[in-house]
């Protein structure tokens, strides 16, 4: 077993264990942190495949941005775990039975026969001067430009939906309108009063 294979199995073991802990951890904060660990090891796997750009993006976007936001949300909401787990044991036998049945069926049908290493030959060493990042960029903006643009539309929909669902105009806020503040004239604030001077 060479070094790369050993690293793969090392990372893969951590990845599987961390993913298991994500769904079994009692504390949502712990679950989120295990998810961070899972992302880290997954990015390590991508690094092994020489997909450096994807590995770094996974860490930056998922770990750096998404998971931190997620942790914020988890910490801000007071989630009552016991209430969510109500009925868990009641549904467990049925759910577990169906899940196990599906897993066994899938294992029987596929059994690793068709996706074994022999069935998927390695693409071969890349030519010198090959840049994974550059290739990705080229593909995204040429062959895959149509889904790429549509993905941006999906993000736009997400923004519109988020604003629609969460933004409320509250009547009682002490909100200051900057436009009115800037446009204020001297006459709005100062009232000139002519006081007759005393003649005596």
């Amino acid at each position: 077993m060479d070094f790369i294979t050993a690293t793969f199995y090392f990372l893969a073991t951590i990845l599987v264990l961390a993913s298991l802990r994500v769904i079994t951890a009692r504390n949502p904060v712990q679950a989120a942190l295990f998810l961070v660990l899972a992302f880290f090891t997954a990015s390590g796997l991508w690094m092994l495949l020489q997909a450096e750009f994807l590995a770094i993006v996974l860490v930056m976007v998922y770990v750096g941005a998404v998971m931190v936001l997620f942790l914020f949300v988890v910490m801000m909401l007071d989630i009552n775990i016991e209430r969510i787990r109500q009925g868990f044991w009641g549904y467990l036998p049925l759910g577990a039975a169906i899940g196990a049945l599906m897993a066994v069926e899938m294992a029987v049908v596929l059994g690793g026969r068709y996706f074994w290493v022999d069935a998927m030959p390695s693409p071969g060493a890349p030519p010198p001067g090959y840049s994974n990042t550059k290739e990705l960029g080229r593909l995204l903006f040429t062959d895959y430009v149509y889904p790429f643009e549509l993905a941006s539309v999906i993000l736009l929909v997400a923004i519109v939906a988020a604003v629609m669902l969460t933004m409320r105009r509250r009547r009682d806020t002490k909100y200051l309108n900057p436009r009115q503040q800037i446009a204020v004239q001297r006459n709005d604030r100062i009232r000139m009063v002519t006081m007759p001077t005393d003649k005596e």
């Binding site: 899938m106 049908v109 596929l110 068709y114 996706f115 080229r138 040429t142 062959d143 895959y144 430009v145 149509y146 889904p147 549509l150 993905a151 539309v153 999906i154 736009l156 929909v157 997400a158 519109v160 939906a161 604003v163 629609m164 669902l165």
Partner: protein, 489 residues
């Protein structure tokens, strides 16, 4: 670097719609509240513009562009025109309802436009990736639209259920696609068909992927046993959104089924026909039986939608008999005819619920239709036509649609299947005709006059009359469907 600039010409309607959606987004920023009607006007104008562009660029050629991810053929042009048409009608029907409840926000129009874009992308997809992205664009807009009335607990619950189940269905679909990719090595729908035809792909992996693909598809179509979301979403969503979900997306889902199963996996027709047959019989049975027990009209129509999708599948499963493909054209056109006529009837029926609703009153229970003939004989007649047509009573358009799919089934020699379908359609006639009975023979519970505007009354009457008149000339649509498919398959 051998990259050719994609041909933008076939995608002009999509680009126009996206550009107009962005324009509306910006116009909304600077628009004073008193000019709000402009947003509705611009949305309608956009859809009409799209229709003109689609009609102008329709030349009957099959054109692939964007690295074979986008296909423009007669089928896509025809279905897109129908989608614009039903969205325009939906917008007219829902305006007064939304205004009365303070829900007429510009976000509603924007999300409807984005959902329309998603449907157009799905209809024109010739690649698993573009198909999936179009589906997500449509679904995400719909999830948000269901929660449009965010202070209503029922709507929020419906949106949440729809979101969770929809995400699961997308997962199933993606898993199936990834298996088919693993077997054929391509995501292009045409390439998949070629790889299977040349026997490159491993059959057990393909069928394994197909199972997941069909499950995901069944979720999106809402057929038993993947139908659980339909009644809750139809019931919980504000009625205009129910009207929207129940109309145009059915056309897109039909296109998706056609592109995936017929264009991509036609060689596996024997396998998917069996799977769809089970789904179809179950849907027809469960949909029609459960609808009887409903007292809420929206829920009843939800179960009726399940059974109608079951009938539509009857057309899809009659394409190939023992390797003989002569029936394919006729069978798929009958399924298309069924989808189109269902969309027309669904628009009218939900339109009637909107017509009877007013500020503070939802006419969504069966009791609200009691004695409609005394309040408005004309619209009671229209609702009667729609219900007769949904039940499949001769000689409305719904009858011819059922007749076409049943004929396709009988052609394949599976007479027992046709008998089962007719049997459950007779059971189904009970709950449709109950509405007619309530309207004409029961005293009204509510004597308030109808408040709808002139445009809605006109369009709804046209809708009801269209259902009756197209029943007199069913051959017109059927020929159109056959011609479209002949030029696109």
């Amino acid at each position: 670097m051998n990259f050719v600039m994609p041909d933008f010409y076939p995608a002009i309607p999509e680009m126009f719609l996206l550009a107009m959606a962005c324009v509306i987004l910006l116009v909304d920023l600077v628009l004073p509240p008193s000019r709000r009607w402009l947003i509705a006007f611009l949305t309608q104008a956009t859809l009409v513009g799209c229709a003109i562009l689609t009609f102008a660029t329709a030349d009957g050629q099959v054109v692939l562009t964007f690295s074979n991810m986008f296909v423009d053929d007669l089928l896509s042009d025809f279905l897109k025109l129908l989608v614009y048409f039903s969205v325009v009608i939906m917008l007219v029907y829902s305006r007064s309802y939304l205004v009365a409840r303070g829900l007429e926000k510009s976000e509603f129009y924007l999300l409807v436009l984005f959902a329309t874009l998603g449907m157009m992308v799905m209809i024109s997809a010739s690649h698993f990736l573009s198909l999936y992205i179009g589906l997500e664009l449509l679904s995400l807009s719909l999830y948000a639209l269901v929660a449009l009335d965010r202070d209503s607990a029922r709507a929020t619950e419906a949106a949440m259920k729809y979101f969770v189940l929809g995400a699961m269905a997308s997962g199933l679909l993606l898993y199936g696609m990834s298996m088919i990719y693993g077997a054929t090595g391509t995501l292009e729908i045409g390439g998949v068909a070629q790889a299977i035809y040349h026997g490159v792909a491993n059959k057990s992996v393909l069928i394994f992927g197909l199972v997941f693909l069909v499950s995901g598809l069944a979720f999106k179509l809402g057929v038993v046993p993947f139908h659980m979301w339909i009644p809750d979403v139809y019931h919980g969503a504000p009625t205009p959104i129910t009207l929207f979900i129940g109309s145009a997306p059915k056309l897109a889902a039909f296109a998706m089924a056609l592109r995936l199963l017929v264009y991509g996996l036609f060689e596996l027709a024997a396998e998917w026909q069996q799977m769809l047959m089970i789904l179809s019989v179950l849907s027809i049975a469960v949909g029609n039986l459960a609808a009887i027990a409903q007292t809420n009209l929206k829920r009843m129509l939800a179960y009726s939608a399940i059974s109608h999708m079951g009938y539509m599948l009857l057309g899809l499963i009659s394409g190939v008999v023992g390797g003989d493909r002569h029936f394919a054209l006729n069978a798929y056109s009958s399924a298309m005819f069924y989808t189109i006529s269902y969309v027309l009837m669904s628009l009218g029926t939900f339109g009637m619920i909107l017509l009877l609703s007013r500020a503070g009153h939802e006419a969504e229970n069966l009791d609200d239709f009691k004695g409609l003939s005394q309040r408005s004989p004309w619209f009671a007649l229209m609702m009667g036509i729609l219900m007769f047509s949904m039940a499949g009573v001769p000689f409305f358009v719904g009858f011819w649609a059922k007749f076409a799919v049943l004929l396709a089934v009988v052609d394949t020699g599976q007479v027992w299947l046709a008998v089962v379908a007719v049997f459950f359609s007779l059971i189904g006639a009970f709950y449709y005709l109950r509405v007619v009975k309530l309207m004409w023979f029961d005293p009204p519970l509510d004597s308030a006059p109808l408040e709808a505007g002139f445009d809605m009354r006109l369009l709804l009457s046209a809708n009801g009359l269209a259902v009756a008149l197209l029943g007199a000339f069913p051959q017109a649509i059927m020929t159109l469907c056959t011609f479209t498919l002949l030029r696109s398959l």
